[in-house]
């Protein structure tokens, strides 16, 4: 892989560390070889775990930190601070009359029937949301000038209350940021050390609840993240790091410590973003075209659409959901993110019977403590991993590379809890649990595809994370997808994904206008002003690497509420820009909704500019010249969820399989971190890279795929 990557980032040995909720993963890429390790996350001082994992992985590769060419880091620290409410004490300056925007939220009960729900508590309480007399209105017009005395009064209050970080959030600031900027200036004169986040910079788009909440979240995590990043940077330098230190952003771009400290909220989903970048790199390397990334771990599964090697992105995300995985129960963040759906389905997800006697799985999880019943750490509740063990899909002796023996009896006993209530045997109940959890994931993927306006059936599923390779076949079949792939290094996908991410930054701003009112000149001006903000952030990190620009516009028919984001090719045409934009919009609209609305006017709402380097690529590896049928290491009886019967199944050890190996299901392919399940009717092939590629054998699937293509 090295050539292209070296060009973009200047080096051949790359170190990535991803801090997750349970584990801190390190991956080291040297040439084309990947070393990886996992250590427990050290919550009190996360940098300790980072350094431990680095020491371990460097030792495996016999290297020193000073020899590393680049260090890339992703972390859930910001997310955890929001979930656990361990951020800074913040205050907010806001438009008089709009003090409760972050509290009243959308006035929406996200569950119509549950009368006991609570809504997320705002990050700043009402007494510290300080009203300022000022008002910007429609299209940025000043309705009430900024009252500077009000701000001065707040300075006193901020001092008295020992505020550690401040958010400034005024209505309509996305069209006119003058009041927010002036307010910041005054605050800085009096409180030069106070970090200040202003809404027009942090999330400069229309809809005040989302913009204000994002801004308060940025202010809330800023002191903590800045301190952590400073400490880590210092420790790394002491340990000999000479290479650039980059951070993974939620949208799959990389940035430096300075920018990360200013916009820490943009780091919130960096781990999962790394996973999607990993799947994207695999899709490019294996030339799979459009794929679906499927990352299933112990607690959740994340699903993302990847189009032509690029993950689908969005600018809305919900963090810290208080009510299971319910939409609307968390804090909305308006930041660039990789657009993925996350559901409570993992190896540790707990199964039970609902009030109608139906088997239900998750979102509650046994996590890693106490973990599934089979772990023998005190868990008694039936989990997905217990079901996999009962069905014989997991080898009780070989789990986690043989480091951990599993207790089959405990798993059977737990699963019986689900079986007994419905008159099912443990085997049947286990099969039912697997069916249900796979159905949940397949449903989530389908609805997500519709939300993205994308067709899903003709894609390949890219499975990684500890539990995904076991369930990839089931999920792919339920969606109607004909194939899935399990890449090498699937266990530390996120950290490896960091290596294939571009240095990039995106900025969005809202300018509400009818297309008819837009001129090429205006747009070029807007583009230039956005570029002047984005380019320096990227250039200082990317140095001389070639930069690419992506310009996108959110448009809708006048009166509609949901915008469609359309890529606008650069440079802009000199004449008839409105006609050009309308054409691009209607083309996409037709694609998503199957019709255009003749005669309806179109308006533009938000503009986003992304500037970044190319993504480093994995070199393609030629397909092996010959194929062969490997002989299984052994056989094992597994319970088949299609025939509901025990069948004899071939067992392979992944490291024994060379490129060109072809085998037919039913089979399991074991490796130290995970197990791939190949059901009857599918065949698996080992690609040149070592990836396992599984496809349906039957004609009917192929026919269905063809139909989908025609339909799309």
């Amino acid at each position: 892989m090295a050539a292209e990557a070296a060009k973009a980032l200047g080096g051949t040995s790359r170190l990535g560390v991803d801090i997750g909720g349970t584990f801190t993963d390190a991956a080291l890429l040297v040439g084309s070889k990947v070393f990886s390790t996992k250590v427990l996350t050290t919550h009190d001082a996360p940098e300790r775990g980072v350094l431990q994992s680095i020491d371990k992985v460097l030792a495996d590769a016999s290297m020193k930190l000073s020899e590393v060419d680049i260090f890339i880091h992703g972390t859930t620290l910001a997310t955890n601070a929001l979930i656990e409410r361990k951020g800074a004490k913040i205050a907010m300056l806001t438009t008089e009359g709009a003090r409760d925007v972050v509290e009243v939220a959308l006035s929406y009960r996200f569950d119509l029937f549950d009368l006991t729900i609570d809504l997320p508590t705002p990050l700043v309480e009402r007494s510290l949301r300080l009203p300022i007399r000022e008002r910007i209105g429609y299209r940025g017009r000043t309705l009430v000038p900024l009252n500077e005395e009000d701000i001065l009064r707040c300075v006193e209050r901020i001092r008295e209350e020992n505020i550690e970080s401040l958010a400034i959030c005024f209505l309509h600031s996305f069209e006119n940021d003058a009041h927010e900027k002036r307010a910041r200036e005054i605050i800085r004169q009096h409180l030069p050390d106070l970090p200040v986040s202003i809404s027009s910079e942090v999330a400069g788009e229309i809809r005040e609840y989302e913009r204000f909440t994002t801004t308060t979240a940025n202010a809330y995590v800023q002191p903590l993240m800045a301190a952590y990043l400073d400490r880590l940077e210092q420790r790394l330098q002491e340990s000999g790091l000479k290479a650039p230190f980059l951070l993974m952003l939620s949208d799959g771009g990389l940035t430096d410590v300075g920018t990360a400290k200013k916009y820490p909220i943009r780091l919130v989903e960096s781990g999962p973003a790394g996973g999607a970048m990993f799947a994207a790199a695999i899709a490019r390397q294996e030339k799979l075209g459009d794929v679906v990334s499927f990352d299933m771990g112990g607690t959740t599964a994340k699903i993302c659409m990847i189009n032509s090697g690029e993950p689908e992105t969005a600018r809305d995300f919900e963090v810290a959901r208080v009510y299971r995985f319910k939409k609307g129960s968390g804090l909305p963040l308006r930041v660039p993110v990789i657009n993925m759906v996350e559901i409570g389905a993992g190896g540790g997800s707990i199964a039970h019977r609902d009030s109608l006697g139906r088997i239900s799985v998750g979102p509650e999880s046994a996590g890693s403590q106490p973990g599934p019943a089979a772990y023998g750490r005190g868990g008694t509740k039936p989990t997905v991993s217990d079901a996999d063990l009962v069905l014989g899909r997991i080898n009780p002796a070989g789990f986690a590379g043989g480091r951990m023996a599993l207790d089959l009896d405990a798993a059977r006993k737990a699963i019986s809890l689900v079986g007994d209530t419905g008159g099912l045997s443990a085997d049947e109940a286990a099969a039912g649990i697997i069916e249900v959890v796979e159905e949940n994931m397949a449903s989530a993927a389908r609805v997500h595809a519709i939300e993205c306006g994308k067709s899903i059936i003709s894609r390949t599923l890219v499975a990684f994370g500890g539990a995904a390779p076991l369930h990839a076949a089931g999920v792919a079949r339920k969606i109607g997808m004909g194939s899935f792939v399990v890449p090498p290094s699937a266990g530390v996908g996120s950290a490896v994904g960091f290596f294939f991410s571009p240095i990039a930054f995106e900025l969005a701003t809202s300018r509400h206008k009818l297309l008819a009112e837009i001129s090429t000149e205006d747009l070029n001006d807007l583009l230039a002003s956005m570029e002047s903000q984005v380019l320096p952030l990227v250039e200082k990190v990317a140095r001389s690497a070639k930069l690419y620009r992506r310009y996108r516009c959110s448009m809708r028919y006048v009166g509609q509420g949901h915008e469609i984001e359309v890529e606008i090719p650069l440079p802009l045409p000199k004449s008839d820009i409105s006609g050009h934009l309308k054409e691009l919009f209607e083309e996409k609209y037709q694609l998503v909704y199957g019709r255009k609305l003749p005669g309806a006017e179109v308006e533009a709402l938000s503009w986003a500019l992304w500037i970044g380097t190319a993504s480093p690529a994995l070199d393609a590896v030629d397909a092996p010249d010959t194929t062969y049928e490997p002989s299984p290491k052994s056989t094992r009886r597994i319970y088949d969820t299609y025939s509901y019967d025990w069948i004899e199944c071939a067992v392979y050890w992944r490291e024994d399989l060379r490129p060109g190996a072809v085998l037919a299901g039913p089979a399991v392919i074991e490796e130290s971190e995970t197990t791939t399940f190949v059901p009857g009717g599918m065949s698996a092939r080992i690609l040149g890279t070592g990836a396992i590629f599984c496809t349906e054998l039957t004609e009917s699937r192929a026919a269905e795929e063809a139909r989908e293509v025609i339909h799309a």
């Binding site: 009243v104 006035s107 009960r109 008002r135 209505l171 109608l356 449903s443 509420g561």
Partner: protein, 551 residues
């Protein structure tokens, strides 16, 4: 056999997913603010006898539950065997669908290999369908807008252009209405297509077996849930402001043997204005309240409704006969859950919330656009009062019950119509006192952008009759409607906002739950610190606070 149990369960959940997909398509393609920002829509799948099998988790109780009983009426005029692929049928008949002309319901048949296998239905609120506009002032149905009896909207793929032209011609917002109707059509088509895919995948040629299973299981679970209530008759009475005169709502809830019958005998007669509530809508909100308390987890389908029945004398306000005016039927409909909860509170002590403030949904009308050109426009706003306190939690602030539509962001509202929302904040002291206090209402102050006169339609409740507390909790504050210049306005009907003036809406608060003297001092002090409770109110409502060191 056992395998088929699990397969059945998987298919069941797949049907629910299809409805989610259907709703998602509608949500994304919809035009009017009510649908797109607020989710004022519902979507569901029915068997060919018109029984609802699955439903998307969206929308309001009004739509969700009225749609459930609407499809069977379509089938009377258009029997399934006469339906063809590519058809779609429509109505806005208040008595046969969703209670007022603004709600349009569309039914799309789904086919598998040439045979009809199911029906998709969806209901959305259209922003304007002519007449007097969305408000309570009409004296009969004919003043309220265009009536669309059961008819073809699309026939074998060809849109009924005559109907569309009439709809456009009869609306003040023709483009939004047309766009919303197309959104429902697209959603129905998507649902029908997906259903045939799923049935093919599972090798099923009809929904008969699965449907029977779904309805049977759901009905059984619902009856079991009801049986936790002691058999008996529970009565409740509540007074509401009404339009021309106050209204008495009375109900007797008969619980016996796993079923519940609601009898509205003794309720006031119809109003001569448009706040009458057709029986399907009465039923929708009544059943909703029972479900929230008794069986919140059970999926919404025909089986879940089987154990419930309802009766009301003709031409009472909860059962007006055609052609009574019904446009603002939500005014009465939204009061019904509190009425029913009052019965349930007797049967399930300590488990039922206090009464709530409701949604206040003014329609604002102007005659000039942003540029100052003459153009009439109409904007439907959604604002939420405070929810009643729950047995172990405060009521939600600025979040309504029973309806829970998303409010429209101020920035979106001001971009959609030349209005300025000068104030949208919680209303201090409005939540009823209690061990758990009622949710605070909101204060809204809205004027024109520039010097233009506006008009608005008021259809607000709880201006003279407050949300009552429960188990010793106090009542919430009443609502208030006025101009910023000071003039008091009526709570019902169309009124002018003079040049340079603003309307001020003070939304009611929810009732409190439990003895106020048991409220924690910390919770009281927090409300005081946050300005949600003034010092005076804290002392008056909570005597133990007055004597504490916090005061």
């Amino acid at each position: 056999m056992r395998k088929s149990d699990i397969a059945m369960q998987i298919m069941w959940s797949r049907l629910a997913t299809i409805c989610e997909e259907q709703a998602q398509v509608m949500l994304r393609a919809a035009f009017s603010a009510a649908v797109r920002e607020s989710g004022d829509l519902s979507a569901g799948l029915f068997d060919i006898e018109g029984r609802m099998l699955a439903q998307a988790v969206t929308g309001t109780p009004g739509h969700v539950n009225t749609m459930a009983s609407a499809v069977v009426h379509f089938l009377r005029k258009f029997p399934p065997q006469t339906m063809r692929p590519g058809d779609a049928f429509v109505t806005n008949d208040p008595w046969l669908a969703s209670g007022h002309l603004h709600d349009v319901t569309v039914v799309t048949p789904a086919f598998l290999q040439g045979s009809i296998v199911g029906l998709f239905a969806a209901t959305v609120h259209l922003v304007d369908i002519g007449g007097r506009g969305f408000g309570p002032d009409a004296r009969d149905l004919y003043e309220e807008g265009i009536q669309v009896p059961h008819m073809y909207l699309v026939r074998e793929g060809v849109v009924n252009e005559v109907l569309m032209e009439l709809m456009r011609a009869n609306s003040r917002e023709p483009q939004q209405v047309e766009g919303d109707i197309y959104a429902i059509v697209a959603a129905g088509e998507e649902g029908a297509r997906r259903l045939s895919e799923v049935m093919t995948e599972f090798g099923e040629s009809s929904l008969g077996r699965l449907g029977a299973h779904i309805l049977e299981q759901t009905e059984k679970a619902t009856r079991k849930a009801i049986s936790q209530l002691p058999d008996g008759v529970y009565r409740n009475h509540t007074k509401m402001d009404g339009y021309e005169s106050p209204i008495d709502l009375r109900v007797a809830m008969h619980v016996s043997n796993g079923s519940i019958h609601l009898d509205f005998e003794g309720t006031s007669g119809i109003s001569s204005f448009g706040i009458n509530c057709p029986l399907p809508y009465t039923q929708a909100y009544s059943f909703y309240a029972i479900k929230c308390v008794v069986a919140p987890d059970i999926p919404s389908n025909h089986g879940a409704h089987e154990p419930f029945s309802i009766s009301a004398p003709d031409n009472t306000i909860v059962n007006p006969l055609r052609p009574a005016a019904v446009a603002a039927r939500h005014v009465v409909g939204h009061m019904l859950p509190d009425l029913i909860l009052g019965c349930l509170a007797q049967a399930m002590k300590g488990q039922v919330p206090a009464e709530s403030g409701m949604m206040w949904n003014p329609t604002i009308r102007g005659y000039r656009d942003f540029a100052g050109n003459d153009r009439m426009w109409e904007y439907f706003c959604l604002f939420a009062a405070g929810m009643g306190a729950r047995p172990k939690q405060d009521g939600l602030d600025g979040t309504a019950f029973p309806s829970a539509l998303k409010s429209i962001p101020v920035e979106s509202l001001e971009t959609g119509a030349p209005l300025v929302v000068w104030k949208k904040e919680l209303r201090p002291d409005s939540g009823g006192a209690g061990e758990f206090r009622g949710g605070m209402g909101q204060i809204l102050e809205i004027g024109a952008l520039g010097e233009v006169p506006l008009r608005f339609q008021a259809m607000f409740e709880r201006v003279t009759n407050a949300a009552r507390g429960r188990d010793g909790g106090s009542e919430g504050a009443c609502g208030k409607v006025s101009l910023s210049s000071g003039k008091q306005l009526r709570s019902k009907g169309q009124q002018d906002i003079p040049l340079g003036d603003c309307i001020v809406l003070e939304l009611p608060g929810g009732g409190g739950y439990g003895d106020p003297s048991k409220r924690s001092l910390k919770a009281i002090a927090k409300d005081v610190r946050n300005g949600l409770l003034t010092e005076e109110a804290a002392r008056a409502q909570y005597p133990h606070y007055a004597g504490s060191s916090n005061a």
